[in-house]
Symmetry: C2
Subunit: 445 residues, 2 copies
């Protein structure tokens, strides 16, 4: 066995700190705004639904934040995750480029989401909170939070987007196996849900509104969000820190780092530690052409949810009530993106590319037939971008994030293999509608 | 992080040899018999469906068999698998016993089956075979062979038991994603299938007959079996060899080794290397009360398949045409067991225990809520046996095989959590019927 395929770390090499990129960002900081006053939203705006431990992480100016021992111990259930050299994919592509992927699908719920679910559950348990409420689309986030709550003895109440609830009963079963209560959203449980009975298939925005409402009304319950916010991106930086060590083990340095972007936490988790380390690697963010936030959105203050309950955040947005077509990459169907990530796109440090659904599945099947792992539809976008990089012929060493497996997405593969997969794209009319729906807020310089 | 949870090996520690326990077995060897002549079946009886490379491994008297470099390289896609100390389960059980599990669910198809699928595909490709046919019940084996065939450029044709084909469409999609062709069995593709139209839900025995028939009639196609045979057990010994090294890393030695048994390859793969190494650990085999081969079967020569196409094999059997109730542990629904394993049960070296379906799911949910991983229904039997060992209070160090995850079995968890899970048991009437159906064959001393 002359050439190793996997680069592994011991449990003692789980990072001791998360990396906070906030102090490194270019330009003046753009705080979230209170939509009622138009003024910067402070910690007080967040205390009804988040514990102080997480609010502190959300606004921290420190370059690093220590990971609590209990969180590191729980990370040890599946971390460090493997870094794998995709030798068989390289052969299949007939390339001399070296391709590596950081595989987060080994977590109990099958994606990177537990990296933040665990510290969120921990901080809430420490603060004496009894229960967490959240929304979930395809179920990756909800199942990760259900898992994390089971570790820290918290109840967990999940509002699952109606169409996904019907299509993915296994994700619901998974949450219930870990002890969570799952509602089909819109539900009768909340005012926000009852008001949306006319939208029986639901949306992520509606589900967020339901979960926030439950948390705001129950003093023992907090809300938990799986992407976008600073503290979520912070938690995900364990991915990139491990990857840096593992690339050193491999004796290689990436000249391109690739990831898919929905809310941005998976991409940031991989890429931010490379930025902190001063890497000159090109950073490539891959998103769906059906929801092309970074490539076609406008850089503006907008709400994080459909109902307009959250602070206004500076980001590339397609409009907070944009409902993307039902592509199978459910985790990438978000109208905005993490403000930290958007700032780096605006500054030109991150390149964004949009791909159509069918070309991402073509790439995913190619990957599955060479490397074995069947990817989730979300990282299939990253694989498509990697193949593009190879075909351009410039990159010598490519690292990408394989943020989850596709075990719960095989109906999508069925449709692709049968030639029945739709290939929606964002239209000029969508764009016009998006611009018309933006809230009043200060422009960004 | 004072106490490690995971014990990992580097790729260079993938075993270089498989362990062949055949020369160590107690008593006189009991060869398989040609059912037509009643005389020992030799390599010639196997050449129509197996390549010589595998036949050589099937009958090898050597204590070790070298693993080909290409197979070790493919193993490197997911091996070595982790050994994990179940600290959270220990806490949940309030025990001072130390519990470890060897987790095979990290393979691309999610179970231990690729350990043998890969060398089988390799040996067939080396022999110039173009295609492999096989049967699959719940889909673990079929998807593993589909994956292995994709690595070595072989076509793959899978006969999937009708009831599973209907219940588990995702397993079918998985096989198709790796490029396999999947038939619902009984099918119109074969004589054996057409003859069984009256059993529309199918059975593993019928599906085996279909796959063997396809291989016997097509000179470019061989048959591949996922358990029971000597060479399959041989390939699985990578599990136990790694576990021995990992237990040394943990500074512990098991006094009980536990695994579930369907055909026996998972259990043998974990336990046989401990036997070779002279371990005094008790070996506990857990099986379903609905298909209690080792605990209630008779030790006799019987066919490996329903139609009676295979050689007669010495084993504990419930009768080759016994159709077990549709418990969710599809991989444990086999009328017999590996002859090598049966010999050790007969000799008293392995203890067998049978468990009802509901008590295994109760154990699995307990495991999921402490350790995170949702187990497949098959290893849920092993977890039940582990909890029993803990409750008996004698064992200090328990090692068990967690041979796969339950991502494709969540409908079963649904039924369990809703209180709708059936709890079938083998009856005296089943036993009488089984005895009446045994083929004529010499008794075993």
């Amino acid at each position: 066995m002359s050439e190793p395929t996997k680069f592994l770390l011991g449990e003692e090499q789980i990072p001791s700190h998360w990396i906070n990129l906030l102090p490194d960002l270019p330009g003046e900081p753009l705080p979230p705004l209170n939509p009622a006053t138009g003024r910067p939203a402070g910690p007080d705006d967040l205390t009804p639904i988040f514990p102080m431990g997480l609010i502190g992480q959300e606004v921290s100016p420190e370059p690093e934040v220590e990971i609590p021992a209990e969180v590191r111990e729980a990370y040890g259930l599946w971390r460090p995750t493997p870094l794998i050299r995709a030798r068989r994919l390289e052969r299949a592509l007939n390339t001399t480029a070296r391709i590596y992927y950081k595989y987060e699908g080994v977590s109990p719920s099958g994606s990177h989401k537990p990296n933040t679910a665990v510290p969120q559950a921990y901080e809430n348990a420490e603060a004496g909170v009894r229960k967490l409420s959240t929304e979930t689309g395809a179920g990756q986030w909800g199942s990760s939070l259900a898992f994390a709550c089971s570790l820290f003895g918290l109840d967990c109440e999940v509002f699952m987007v109606g169409s996904s609830y019907d299509q993915k009963p296994y994700r619901r079963s998974m949450m219930e196996t870990w002890g969570a209560t799952v509602h089909r959203s819109p539900s009768d449980r909340t005012q926000s849900g009852r008001a949306q009975r006319r939208h029986p298939t639901g949306s992520l925005g509606i589900a967020i509104s339901e979960a926030v409402e439950v948390a705001a009304q129950d003093p023992d319950c907090n809300y938990s969000l799986g992407s976008v916010l600073n503290h979520v991106l912070l938690h995900q930086t364990v991915i990139g820190q491990e990857a840096i060590l593992q690339m050193q083990l491999a004796g290689d340095e990436p000249d391109v780092v690739v990831g898919c972007v929905g809310g941005g936490s998976n991409f940031a988790g991989l890429a931010f530690p490379f930025l902190r380390a001063g890497s000159n690697a090109r950073l490539v963010a891959a998103e769906p052409a059906a929801c092309p936030t970074l490539t076609r959105g406008v850089y503006r203050y907008d709400f994080g949810d459909t109902a307009g309950l959250t602070p206004l955040m500076p980001m590339y947005t397609l409009g907070h009530d944009f409902v993307p077509p039902p592509v199978h990459a459910g985790g990438l169907r978000y109208h905005g993106d993490a403000p930290m990530l958007c700032g780096l796109v605006k500054a030109g440090r991150i390149e964004a590319r949009a791909y159509r659904q069918n070309e991402t599945f073509e790439a995913a099947v190619r990957f599955a037939r060479s490397e074995g792992i069947i990817p989730a539809p979300e990282p299939a976008h990253a694989i498509r971008a990697v193949i593009d990089e190879v075909e351009r012929g410039e990159a010598k060493v490519i690292l990408f994030g394989l943020c989850g497996h596709g075990n719960f997405d095989l109906a999508a593969y069925d449709a692709y293999l049968a030639g029945d997969l739709e290939d929606p794209e964002f239209s000029e009319a969508d764009m016009e509608a998006a611009l018309a729906r933006l809230p009043e807020a200060p422009a960004i310089a």
